[in-house]
């Protein structure tokens, strides 16, 4: 009932007459023009595709930026005239200028963290899977959901426009620490580009808040009959906790950004104190730059889990489906997601160990940080035991899910190093940090996202992705990711600092020239293979093998009880009723038992 109310929008809110029309629901269709179907759609499935394709475009741009700065790092002495042809004064003499390098790394971080792995990942799969997996017609508010995408689109337009400003886009790092980011005279990238960055991020925050409100409300209120919280697939739990994290942490970033806007444009001194720039003494006094870091990382750390949790949820689901085994320790999985959500809010200062933070206070943050190892280890253990003696089908989605577990282990272990404030004295701001967060957050979440795309593509477009291209994509990306980031650990331990454009002038870092060239080469190969995936994606939308079976993976969850191409409203007749949890695989001699199948007389209820 509740979801029907929503589909009918405001008209049905209280008028008693509207209830009579419900039985014929699903048979009648809204009048849909091209504009309302593809552009201003309120159908969660279309909004999910909009998020996904926008995210793919951003991923290409962000990935290309990394290729450009890896070109500089790998070949610091070589001139590439084509760079000057394209970028003009940013690459004078065919070499990337210092300002351009900083702009590239800043934009690479911003784009991939926020636009791809937050909006592209959560936006896609939360929108697509929530109504389908809990058995709802659509989101609690289709209109807010549409607004969520369009705020994201506006944020994208502003951020994209900032790439073409004469003084360049923001270049103070994706963390935009003041005073550098607050003072236009401090660097080219702190001029107009920084204002565009802040405006774009404000729009982005509005987008993710509108999305998050909807996800939470929908999961808590619109579950179909019989779908208790503990019968939900783990994807739903993960997306729910992700939304909670976003709704509680993004507003704090907004408050930090508002104060930064004041400092930039109204001459206030929240973050600025006693500064001399290029011989000019600034009037600001009494501000605290550390204050911004607290506000930023109070979002920034939960943001890591906003990126990671949806990937964890999808991986749990895909591992179980393709092992033909129930997920091991369902409640422990939910509990560990909850523990990670709580801890996410209590560890932000581990990003600030070397900012002059009181070492006594630091000790508590070390303890809380290392505590995250406990729920993380529970999850890894449960994934491995789910695979253990499973009847494993190595589909591309499954491979990416297993790859996620591998990366999460390797990247998680280095987190234990970095979580220690004493070790951090040596390791902070080195390539060790770069290697750690790229593996555990960046590449791992990308693997979760790829797993999700390969697994749910048949539901999205009623066609399969090409498997051969999928296998090439997986193996090159997995091996490539390790070849890129593994050597960076050694570089970081040797003290190689982040954010330097050229190491050839340092005697101690000269030895890494060949290694840097190797990393850059692999990075370019891996990037090329991602383009192969993009080709596969768009090719398969139109030319892929058609799905003939409503449930191609033999999966228990509700999205596979819909027609092959579900319309707006998802189920043509009544909403399905749920009788069991989502993980009855290999039970009583049967390969899988759908959630809609009633519990038999000889079964115990779950």
């Amino acid at each position: 009932m509740s979801s029907e109310t929503v589909l009918h929008g405001q008209t049905a809110e209280a008028s008693v007459n509207a209830h009579e029309g419900h039985d014929e629901h699903g048979h009648h269709h809204h009048e849909e023009s091209f504009l309302t179907k593809y552009i201003f759609s309120q159908d969660h499935k279309m909004i999910a595709k909009q998020f996904l394709i926008t995210g793919i475009i951003w991923a290409i741009i962000g990935g290309l930026f990394s290729v450009l700065f890896r070109l500089q790092l790998g070949y610091p002495d070589t001139s590439f005239p084509f760079l000057e042809d394209i970028f003009g004064r940013w690459a004078k003499g065919g070499r990337i200028s210092n300002e351009f390098y900083y702009a590239l790394v800043t934009m690479h971080g911003t784009i991939l963290v926020f636009f791809v792995l937050t909006a592209g990942l959560s936006g896609t799969f939360a929108n697509f899977l929530i109504p389908l997996q809990i058995g709802a017609r659509d989101m609690a508010s289709g209109f807010l959901n549409m607004l969520s995408y369009w705020f994201f689109f506006l944020a994208s337009v502003v951020m994209f426009a900032s790439l073409f400003i004469q003084t360049g886009p923001a270049a103070g790092g994706w963390t935009i620490y003041p005073p550098l980011s607050a003072l236009g005279q401090a660097s080219e990238g702190s001029k107009l580009g920084m204002d565009f960055w802040l405006i774009s991020m404000a729009l982005f925050i509005v987008s993710s808040l509108l999305g998050g409100l909807n996800y939470i409300t929908t999961i808590l209120n619109l579950r179909t009959k019989g779908m208790s919280m503990t019968r939900m697939p783990l994807t739903m739990w993960a997306i729910f906790f992700t939304a909670v994290l976003g709704v509680l942490s993004f507003p704090v970033l907004l408050s930090g950004a508002v104060l930064l806007l004041f400092d930039r444009n109204l001459g206030t001194s929240f973050y600025l104190s006693e500064i001399v720039v290029k011989g000019e003494i600034l009037p600001n006094e009494g501000g605290s730059a550390i204050l911004f870091q607290h506000l930023f990382w109070f979002l920034g750390h939960p943001e890591v889990y906003i990126i990671l949790l949806p990937a964890m949820g999808m991986v749990s689901e895909i591992l179980s489906v393709n092992s033909r085994k129930p997920i091991f320790g369902y409640l422990a999985m939910v509990g560990s997601l909850f523990a990670i959500t709580i801890l996410a809010f209590l560890v932000w200062a581990h990003h600030m160990f070397v900012t002059g933070l009181n070492p006594f206070l630091g000790a508590f943050f070390v303890l809380l940080t290392l505590l995250i190892a406990v729920p993380s280890a529970i999850k890894v253990f449960n994934w491995l035991t789910t695979l253990w003696r499973g009847n494993i089908r190595l589909t591309p989605a499954m491979l990416f899910a297993i790859g996620f577990v591998s990366l999460f282990i390797s990247g998680g272990l280095t987190g234990i190093f970095l979580g220690n404030s004493t070790l951090d004295l040596h390791l902070h701001d080195t390539y060790f940090v770069v290697a750690h967060f790229h593996i555990v957050m960046g590449v791992a979440s990308f693997f979760g996202m790829f797993a999700g795309v390969y697994h749910w593509f048949p539901k999205m477009y009623s066609r399969y992705l090409n498997n051969t291209m999928g296998y090439i994509h997986f193996w090159v990306t997995l091996i490539g990711a390790y070849l890129i980031f593994w050597p960076m650990h050694y570089q970081g331990l040797a003290g190689l600092p982040r954010r330097y454009t050229d190491f050839s002038n340092w005697q101690s870092f000269n030895q890494f020239a060949d290694m840097n060239r190797f990393i850059s080469t692999v990075a370019m190969i891996v990037f090329a293979v991602q383009l192969l995936f993009v080709f596969n994606f768009f090719y398969s939308i139109f030319k892929g093998r058609k799905v003939q079976n409503t449930n191609p993976w033999g999966s228990n969850t509700l999205e596979w009880t819909t027609p092959i191409t579900p319309g707006h409203g998802n189920w043509p007749g009544e909403l399905p009723e749920v009788h069991r949890w989502a993980y009855d695989y290999g039970k009583d001699g049967r390969e899988f038992i759908s959630q809609v199948e009633p519990v038999g007389a000889d079964e115990s209820a779950h």
């Binding site: 009932m1 509740s2 109310t5 929503v6 405001q10 809110e13 209280a14 008028s15 209830h19 419900h22 039985d23 609690a140 508010s141 807010l144 808040l209 998050g212 409100l213 909807n214 939470i216 409300t217 929908t218 808590l220 209120n221 619109l222 709704v247 509680l248 942490s249 993004f250 507003p251 704090v252 907004l254 408050s255 930090g256 508002v258 104060l259 004041f262 109204l266 001459g267 206030t268 001194s269 929240f270 104190s273 009037p283 006094e285 009494g286 501000g287 605290s288 204050l291 607290h294 506000l295 109070f298």
Partner: protein, 191 residues
């Protein structure tokens, strides 16, 4: 179908639920701002804020508007559309009056030679402006919502006696009211 409907009536409407989550989110932003204020306050170069009298008037105004929005809600539940529109209008006017009084308050700082922004400004007063400004934007959002609902209520094409939009708006209105009370006490006590 009937039992499903009665089941639904016991549950909170999704739109109201969404609002409560949104309120939690907005609270986090003001928690961020006020805790930044507290951190900054314990550091050097902090000035004691003097709150002009006009802020007491604005506080009274927004309190009064909470009463009128409640009267409006009562009217629509009795299907008394005339009184409903009247109280809605008064609430919106009180909301605008609140914002005007706030702005007057900030101009009074200028008259007393206290810089809120620009060279010579102190973070303590800048905080007052930034935090009240963010609150003001939320009040403005509430005013717009009330006006939209009031316009829909007089629409001739569709008779709509649904009290849900106003219930949601009223909850939000009480929230921004309470939020200001919190901020007002905060500014007066945490000088």
């Amino acid at each position: 179908m009937l039992d499903v409907i009665s089941d639904q009536q016991r549950k909170i409407h999704p739109h109201k639920f969404t609002l409560w989550v949104a309120i939690g989110s907005i609270l986090m932003m003001f928690a961020g701002l006020t805790s930044a204020y507290i951190v900054k306050r314990s550091q050097a170069n902090w000035l004691m804020i003097e709150i002009p009298l006009v802020f007491w008037y604005s506080t009274f105004t927004i309190l009064l508007s909470s009463v009128t929005v409640q009267l409006s809600l009562k009217a629509i539940k009795q299907r008394n559309m005339v009184m409903y529109r009247r109280w809605m209008l008064i609430t919106a006017v009180l909301g605008v009056l609140f914002l005007v009084l706030q702005i007057i308050g900030f101009y009074q700082f200028g008259e007393n030679d206290i810089r809120l922004v620009g060279a010579g400004s102190n973070a303590s007063y800048s905080f007052l402006l930034a935090i009240s400004g963010m609150h003001g934007l939320h009040v403005l959002g509430g005013v717009i919502a009330l006006v939209v609902i009031a316009i829909r209520a007089v629409s001739i094409s569709k008779r709509n006696y649904s009290s849900l939009p106003l219930e949601v708006a009223a909850t939000y209105w009480h929230f921004v009211d309470l939020l200001w009370i919190y901020l007002f006490i905060f500014f007066n006590w945490m000088k």
